[in-house]
């Protein structure tokens, strides 16, 4: 599981660490449901890690745990060696839907975290405009969300997550609602920003091609209970291009992940049948 590549500041400092993390939801009547079971993972500074798996495998829960919005039932999550206790400001969070505030302009939406932090807004306007320009939204600073397409709204969502210069970027299926073409374009835009700003990215998706194309490493999860089935290093050069989707290494990785996911769901089915037989 140790990354073989070194250099460019990557592969040296461990930023996010999951140590035997489990998450159990208790509800009345239904009893306890294990959402995550014994997760171990180390993510290094500047790394782009994607988390892929079928729906219901607890991918989003992992993000909430890392951000401190949720607390693990057992195990520990550490950021730079410090255990996570409660929400942390050094996280930028990109939600599945952008959820822009319709009474604010695009620029004001990007600046919202600055206002929430109580920092001087005026000092961050230039940075907001710069981020917007980087995702091709130059000229849209004073537009409103209803004037934007879904893709443009999610671009604003990315800028909003980056405005307070967080060290870690957590992304929860951010492109799931977008069409395939937009998805690809915006993915490469994200990679450009990432190459430039060197954030540590944890990116949840259910699209295998997306997971492979973006990542340094793909964490494959199996469902019920959510476990890490495998971690696949992606041996494709940077910067990534569309053509790499036809590269043998890409296909190999994608197939391997596919097999892992299918195997995971098969075993889940068998255990369900077994449980049904017992009852």
């Amino acid at each position: 599981m140790l990354p073989l590549r070194l250099g460019e500041g990557r592969g040296e400092v461990v930023v996010i660490e999951l140590d035997a993390v489990s998450m159990v939801y208790r509800s009345r009547g239904k009893g306890a449901v294990t959402a995550l079971d014994d997760l171990h993972l180390r993510i290094e500074a500047g790394e782009f890690v994607t988390l892929v798996g079928p729906s219901g495998c607890g991918k989003s829960t992992v993000l909430k745990l890392v951000s401190g919005l949720l607390e693990a039932t057992s195990g520990q999550i550490r950021i730079h060696g410090q255990p996570v206790r409660g929400p942390r400001r050094e996280m930028g969070f990109v939600f599945q839907t952008p959820v822009l505030l319709p009474w604010r302009t695009v620029r004001e939406n990007v600046l919202l975290p600055i206002e929430m932090l109580g920092r001087p807004v005026r000092e961050h306007v230039a940075r907001a405009d710069e981020l917007l320009a980087q995702v091709g939204l130059d000229g849209f600073q004073t537009a409103h969300s209803w004037e934007l397409s879904g893709g443009m709204q999610q671009r604003v969502g990315i800028c909003r997550a980056l405005i307070h210069d967080p060290e870690i970027l957590l992304m929860d299926e951010p492109f799931a609602a977008l069409d395939a073409m937009t998805r690809e374009t915006i993915g490469f835009e994200l990679l450009r920003i990432w190459e430039e700003r060197r954030k540590t990215v944890l990116f949840v998706t259910h699209s295998i091609p997306e997971a492979v194309l973006l990542a340094d490493r793909v964490v494959v999860m199996s469902p019920r209970p959510g476990r890490i089935a495998s971690v696949i290093p992606i041996d494709l050069p940077r910067p990534r291009t569309v053509e790499m989707e036809y590269d043998e290494r890409f296909k190999e990785a994608a197939l391997e992940i596919r097999a892992l996911i299918d195997h995971g769901s098969t075993s889940a089915r068998t255990s369900a049948t077994a449980a049904g037989g017992r009852a």
């Binding site: 951000s67 919005l69 505030l101 009474w103 849209f140 934007l148 893709g151």
Partner: protein, 275 residues
């Protein structure tokens, strides 16, 4: 197009999402002719019915008589309308003043909510007409009991709608607030309160129409001014034409006040009908 965009969207000002057909835009004759024709037809039918069946005028005055009564008594009717309007607006603003803080309190904590809600439901289920005689007993004649009745009728839809609106904060925004450890107050003013605005205005639109009813009920019960009293007195004197004219003024007042609230909504939350 300078910015290449795979999602293929318009520029600001030419939004792709906003070019759905707007009703009643410009001089669209089709949308104007139908209602005008139907109104004229109904009035003609009314006039014809009265003439053909020789209905006594105190039972049903023909529309032209109503118009004459309206024109001849315009100064009195305008003064009545002013009084009823004043009572309505006073009660309406009073209800906003009380309802909004109460809605905020309801959303502050579960015990507060559970403590206040039963009284709201109880209060809402009481017909306000039933309280009117009591108000007369407690406060006496004059404009105050009418303002209170307008307030009571307008109050509940504002509380309920605003309280619901305040719960409409997107969960993602709450997460964002928690991540950045923003204070509750900051999240409230930046996200929660503005998010509730469309619901607040939906409540206001219901409330303003109800406030007119409340004021008129107050006028029915006691006093000697306002459109409600004018209708009562005119009916008693078999001046049905004047009663009809007063009712017409009442509905015009209602339409005017409703339009003003809708206008305020357009100015204060212009995003609502667009998003």
């Amino acid at each position: 197009m300078t910015a290449p965009d795979a999602s293929g969207v318009g520029r600001p000002g030419h939004p792709e999402t906003a070019d759905a057909p707007l009703p009643g835009r410009g001089l669209d004759l089709g949308t104007w002719i139908a209602p005008v024709v139907s109104v004229i037809l109904i009035l003609a039918l009314w006039q014809a019915t009265v003439l053909v069946f020789r209905l006594p005028r105190f039972v049903l005055p023909p529309p032209l008589d109503v118009l004459t009564a309206l024109v001849n008594n315009l100064p009195i009717l305008l003064r009545d309308t002013w009084i009823t309007g004043r009572e309505t607006v006073a009660g309406f603003f009073l209800s906003i003043l009380v309802a909004v803080p109460l809605a905020i309190l309801i959303n502050l904590s579960a015990p507060l909510r559970n403590g206040i809600y039963p009284f709201l439901l109880l209060g809402q289920s009481v017909p306000k007409q039933a309280i009117a005689p009591l108000l007369l007993l407690w406060i006496g004649y004059g404009e105050v009991p009418r303002v209170i009745l307008a307030f009571l009728t307008a109050f509940f839809p504002i509380v309920v709608n605003t309280a619901i609106g305040l719960q409409m904060t997107p969960p993602e925004m709450q997460d964002l607030g928690r991540l950045l450890s923003a204070s509750r107050r900051r999240v409230f003013f930046k996200v929660t309160f503005p998010s509730a605005m469309p619901y607040f205005f939906a409540g206001l639109k219901v409330a303003i129409s109800l406030a007119v009813i409340g004021a008129v009920i107050g006028e029915f019960i006691g006093g000697d001014t306002g459109l409600g009293q004018r209708i009562l007195v005119a009916s008693g004197n078999q001046r049905t034409d004047l009663a009809f004219a007063a009712i017409l003024m009442l509905s015009l007042l209602g339409i005017l006040l409703f339009t003003l609230v809708a206008l305020a909504e357009k100015i204060l939350c212009p995003w609502y009908d667009k998003s």
